[in-house]
C-alpha cells in the first residue's frame, strides 16, 4: 500500500484510514526490515565476538564458601593485582590450568585486590586485553585485616598468594610466592588424587 499523498491527497487519504495514521508506511516497513537484518547479523556474529567476562564483586564471607566442601572440586584461588609484576607474570600459568582441566572438577578463581576506583579504568580493560578465561572476582572489602587470616593464617598479606583447596579431601595448600605452571600442575594433580 502506498500513500500517494503528494499527488492526489484527498482521494488516497480517503481510501485508507491507515494512511492518515502512518503517512509513510513503506519507509517504516523498510526501516523494520533493515533492523531485523541487523538483529539477525548480530545474533550470528555474537558467539564469535570476544566477550569479556563480567567481574563479580565479592565480600569476605565468600572465602568460607570457596573453602567449603564441594564434592571433588579443587579450587585454585589466586590473589593478584594489575600493578603487581609477579602476579601478572604468573597469570598465564593459571589460565593454562583453566584450559587444561576444562571438564574436570578444577576451578580457578582470580581474586583481584586492586583499588576499587581502578576496577573500571584498569582491571576491566586488563581482563579484556588479556582475554582471561579463568573466573575473575573483585574483593570488595576496605580492610584486609578482616579477611586475610580466613584465607590462610600463614598469609602475611603480600601478593601474589595462592590457596589450593579441596575440603572434601582435606587438601589445603597455601603459597605466598609466584608459582610456575609445573608447580601448579603438580599441586592440582595431587589435590585431584
Amino acid at each position: 500500500m502506498v500513500c500517494k499523498k503528494s499527488l492526489e491527497p484527498g482521494k488516497n487519504a480517503a481510501k485508507s484510514g491507515l494512511c492518515r495514521i502512518w503517512p509513510n508506511l513503506p519507509a517504516i516497513r523498510a526501516f523494520l526490515v533493515v533492523m531485523l537484518r541487523l538483529l539477525l547479523l548480530l545474533l550470528l556474529v555474537s558467539p564469535f565476538a570476544s566477550t569479556a567476562q563480567d567481574i563479580v564483586f565479592v565480600k569476605a564471607d565468600e572465602i568460607a564458601r570457596w573453602k567449603a566442601p564441594a564434592g571433588d572440586t579443587v579450587r585454585v584461588i589466586n590473589f593478584w593485582a594489575t600493578w603487581c609484576q609477579p602476579c601478572v607474570a604468573e597469570l598465564p600459568a593459571f589460565e593454562k590450568i583453566t584450559a587444561e582441566y576444562a571438564g574436570r572438577p578444577v576451578q580457578v578463581i582470580l581474586v583481584c585486590t586492586d583499588f576499587k576506583r581502578d576496577v573500571d579504568t584498569r582491571v576491566r580493560p586488563f581482563v579484556k586485553k588479556k582475554k582471561l578465561r579463568s573466573r575473575v572476582v573483585f574483593m570488595d572489602e576496605s580492610n584486609p585485616n578482616k579477611w586475610i587470616d580466613s584465607v590462610s593464617p600463614e598469609w602475611s598479606g603480600a601478593i601474589p598468594a595462592t590457596l589450593i583447596v579441596c575440603s572434601a579431601k582435606g587438601v589445603e595448600r597455601f603459597f605466598e610466592q609466584q608459582l610456575d605452571l609445573e608447580t601448579l600442575r603438580k599441586e592440582v594433580e595431587a589435590a585431584l588424587r
Binding site: 583499588f115 580492610n143 585485616n145 601478593i159
Partner: protein, 203 residues
Amino acid sequence: MKKLLSLGLFMLTALVFTAFRPLIGTGYGIGDTAADFKLTNVDGTQHSLAGIQGAKGYIVVFTCNACPYAQAYEDRIIALHKKYAPLGFSVVAINPNDKNMQPGDSFDKMKDRAKAKQYPFLYLYDETQEVAKNYGATRTPHVYVLDATRTVRYIGAIDDNSEDPSGVTEKYVENAVDALLAGKEVATKETKAIGCSIKWRKS
C-alpha cells in the same frame, strides 16, 4: 649401646632443628628485641636507631617508591613522622627492594622521591636486604613499632583503609604509639594488610 644411639639421635635432631631454625621462625614477633642496624640514608650519611637523639621509640616502616600501596600511604607516613617525631617516635623508612627486580626502587630513585616529597624522615636503603630479613618483613608497607629498648610492640598495617584515607576507622600505628606514650599496653598488636611482596634478590 641403645642409650648412646638415642643420645646420638637426639643430638642429630637438635642439630637439624638449630640449623633450620632461621628458616622456620623467620622475623620478629611481638616482645622480641629488634637488632639495630646501620644503613645509608638518601643524603648519603649512615644511620642507626641508636643515633636518633631523645628517642622514646621508633616507627620502622618498610616501604618503597614503586608499590601502589606504599604510594597510597606516602602522605600518611609523612604525617605520622610530623606528629610523632616531636614526641619521641620518629619514622625510619627502609626500602628493602632489589633494584634489579624493581628498577623504580633504586637508590637514585629513592633520592628523587625523597626530594620531590621532602621526606622529613630518614629514608634508608637496605641494599643487602639483611634488615628486612631480620625483621621478617614481607611486603611494603610493613610497619614495626619499637619502644625505647627496641622491643617490638606492634607489627602490621598503618591503618584499616589503604585506598581511602577518609574511610579509615582504626589508626593502628597511631593507637600503638599513643598507648606507648601513655605507658599503656598496645591493644591491637598485630594486623595484616595486602601489600606488594618485597622484591628479593635472585640468588
